[in-house]
Every structure is written in C-alpha cells, then in structure tokens.
C-alpha cells in the first residue's frame, strides 16, 4: 500500500483546512489560514464575474444573519455571499424583533437554532458577543462586528484588496487614520496586516487613540501629512458618533482641518498612495469627495472583494460542519 500513497500527493497539496471552527476574530487566525482564505477568494472572485454567479456548494446549509446593530454593506454582502453559494438564508434584525421585548441573546439565538440552522452570522453592539455564542451553541459562528472589538471579514477584505492592488501585503506600510478607539475595523486590520507581515501605523487625535495601542506593535502619529508620507496605503476611518458618549474633539470642522484627507494633501505627497475606506463614508469629514472618487481610491473594489472574501470564509467554515 505504501507505493499507492504517493500519487494522491497532488490531491493532498490542493486540500486545505482552516485551523478554526468559528470566525470570531482575526486574532485566532494563523497566517496560513489567511492565505487559504485568499486563495479561495481568488476563485470566488472569478465565479462572481461569470454570467451565472452562483455555485451549488452549500445547497444543504442554512445560514441565519443576526444583526443586532444597523448595517447596510456588511449585511448585503453576507447575504449575497450566502446566496451565491446556494445556501438558504434567513435574516433577523433586532429593531423588528422580540429582543425589544426583553429576550436574552442566548434565548433568541437558541430559538432560531431550533429551526435547524447550520451557521450564524452575528453583528452585535457588545464586544465578545460572537465568542460567547460560539461557546454555547451548536452552529458555526461568524463575527460580522462585535462592538468596538473585531470585524474580521472587513479586515480580510481590506488585506485582500491591498494584496490585489500591490501584489502582496508583506512589507507594505499601512496607516489607519481616524477614530481608532471606537473602531473594530482598526483592531482587526492591525491583527490581519501584522500577521501578513505589513507595518502598521495609526493616526488620529490623541483622544481617539487607545492608551495601550503601542503594545500591539504599531506606530502612532498625530500628524496626518507625516503619516501619509510614510505609508503605501491609507485606510480612512469614520468617526463613530454612535459609540461616543462624550466629546472627543471640539468640532467636526476642527477634526477635518487636521485629519481630513483632501486632494490637495494627496497631490502634494511624494508618491502615489492607495486610499481605502471601510464605509460608510462621511464625505467632507474624514475624506473629501474628490479623494473618495479619485483613481487612487479602491473603496469600491473593497466592496466587490467583500462578497468574494465572505464567500470564501463561509465555504471554508461550512466544510467543517459535520453531516
């Protein structure tokens, strides 16, 4: 039998497995996991550019999208990804549900699961909600944003977009500008970019940079021009007013004057950098309209890649669901 083994090697080389059962955060992923996700994403990107943008892989899987917090892009993107994999999809949003009547998260989810759900995509205002669920329910959990903690699929699609535009992420310099303190996108991006070998800098007003950010091994700058001169890619974040209970800066106008990215600044830089934004954009606050629509911006590519990345994540995690 020994000799018969080797000719399956070419098949084995092509087989791969994620090290995780649930995607609750980038922190749990290995660089190899991310590479597997990216390779699978390449193929799904091809699929969604075909005349028939659908594959039958997940015909026997049912996915519940549980959105306890508002979302447009992420929700549409997940739903589209699920449908293009042929899974059955049910949607839930807390604004129109019994959560308003005092039901706990676990009760809500268990009720939904008794309808035979295989996978749960959850967005929740409380950090750790996805992890909490993943330890208590018998379904695969994907975190679609938990408070100011993590937003793993966003980080994956951001890194994938950089890889697509610049060839690789390793060795690239990325600056994340804006409300780092309240941003789950920032934290997930820092983990993801560092795992892929990029250098990360955060830039924003002192009040919006977390106190212990240095422990993550990122550089800090409070000067937008200096940060932009340093970087290859700038990821501009929105000011998360909904998470701010106090004022962190005097006025939007003052924030924009110091940290808003305008065409003037962009054109005065010594090299052409790439501009990203996870959305929703507040035009004229963190980024001006002409920058958002410029040729250096890959904001819409990010959205397109979002569907493909989510298809890859769902596909790879669904492969681990036992029949």
């Amino acid at each position: 039998m020994e000799k018969t083994k080797y000719f399956f090697l070419h098949q084995l080389n092509r087989m791969n497995n994620l090290s995780i059962q649930h995607l609750t955060g980038i922190k749990d992923l290995t660089p190899e996991d991310i590479e597997i996700i990216f390779k699978t994403t390449d193929s799904f990107k091809q699929v969604i550019n075909r005349p028939i943008k659908k594959v039958p892989s997940l015909r026997d899987i049912t996915v519940a999208n549980l959105f306890f917090e508002n979302s447009t892009r992420t929700k549409l993107s997940f739903e589209l990804a699920e449908k293009r994999l042929s899974s059955d999809v049910i949607n839930f949003s807390s604004s129109s549900s019994s959560v308003k009547k005092g039901e706990t998260l676990l009760d809500t989810v268990n009720n939904i699961l008794s309808m035979k759900i295989d996978m749960v995509v959850i967005r929740h205002p409380n950090p750790g909600a996805a992890l909490y669920l993943s330890k208590r329910i018998n379904a695969t959990v994907i975190n679609a944003g938990d408070g100011a903690h993590e937003h793993p699929t966003q980080a994956l699609l951001d890194a994938y977009s950089i890889r697509e535009k610049l060839g690789s992420v390793s060795g690239k310099k990325v600056v994340i500008v804006g409300d780092i303190l309240h941003s789950r996108v920032a934290l997930s991006n820092i983990y993801c970019l560092q795992k892929l070998g990029a250098e990360v800098m955060v830039c924003g007003p002192t009040t919006l940079i977390p106190k212990y950010i240095n422990e993550l091994g990122v550089q800090v700058s409070h000067n937008l021009r200096e940060a932009l001169e340093w970087c290859d890619v700038a990821n501009m974040l929105r000011i998360q007013l909904e998470r701010q209970e106090i004022s962190f800066f005097p006025s939007f106008r003052e924030y924009t004057m110091q940290f808003g990215l305008t065409k003037e600044i962009l054109d005065s830089l010594s090299k052409k950098i790439i501009i990203m934004h996870p959305g929703p954009i507040n035009r004229g606050v963190e980024i001006s309209s002409d920058v958002a629509d410029s040729s250096q911006s890959i904001i819409l590519n990010q959205v397109e890649n979002g569907v493909a990345v989510r298809m890859a994540v769902i596909y790879l995690l669904a492969a681990k669901i036992e029949r």
Binding site: F7, N16, S43, V55, P56, S57, A318, I321
Partner: protein, 183 residues
Amino acid sequence: MQPQVILNEKQVDLTLRRLCYQLIENHNDFTNTILIGFQPRGIFVLERLKIKLEKILNHPIQCGNIDITFHRDDFRRRERPIIPSVTNIDFDIENRNIVLVDDVLHTGRTIRSGLDALLAFGRPKKVELLTLIDRRFQRDLPIQANYIGFTVDTLISEKVSVEWKETDGKDQVFLFTPIESNE
C-alpha cells in the same frame, strides 16, 4: 508491489495522436469547437492535444480550463476542502461545440460536476467527452466518453495514475494494485 505500466511514454504519444485524428473526423477544422480541460490534471492532456492538433491543422484552436471544485457533490463528505484551481473560459460558449478533456474517467462524478460548471457559462450546442483512460465498469453515474484513449478493467481497490513530464518527469500511466487483492 511494483506499479504496472499501462502506457509508456511512446504509447501515450501515439494514443494522443489517434485521439487528435478522431477529433478532426468529427469537428473538421475546429471553427465552431472549443476544447476544455478539467483542472488540475485534464489540462495536461489538453495541452498535448492542442499542440498536436495545431500542428496537423496549421491554425490555432480555442481552448479553456474549467475548475469544478464548487460544483462537486462530495463537499462536506471529505475531511478537508479542496483548494480550487483557475477556471479560464474567457470566451462565449453559446452555440459552440465543446469537447471536455480529462485524464481518467472513473465514477463519472467529476464529469457530472463539470457539466454543471460548464452550463453556468452558457448553452453550448453540443458537449462531448474525451478521456485518456477509461476505467470501465466503475461508473456511479450514466456517463460515457465519446473519445477514449485506453480502456482498463480495474477493481475499485486499484488505482490508476497518469503522470506528466511537467509534474512527474515522464508521460506515463500506472496501475497500482494493493497487495491484499493481488493474492
């Protein structure tokens, strides 16, 4: 035990050449015909056919590759998912004659998935199947090839392996028989 050689380098070459002439018999000058190879191993057969056909016909013929990973019916039945290869069909297959090309026809399940994957690109006029090795009597589905390089009768415990110069150093086909069933 030693693997048994079914086709050596010269026989592989001869067989492929015969398949080329069979294809020409049915498809004339290939103006409305496209050859599509299955990823990852069918593309080696396709590449060789393409070179030979172009030499005989003296003009280029249209070819593509198809990856069937997402259309497989054994997703979640195997331990680990297969990382997909590249699909390369950047032409219209509407109303064209398609010849699918693979190395080994065994259970027929790959071909079933391939047809499924192909139809996502349009509605071809006709689809045919070419295989280098046909493992007769091993079919799970009612699928037969139109062009067959070599037919072998095998037990289910036996394995057929097609090796190519690019990946294994030599073009040749082996039959592996497990020791138990050989006694």
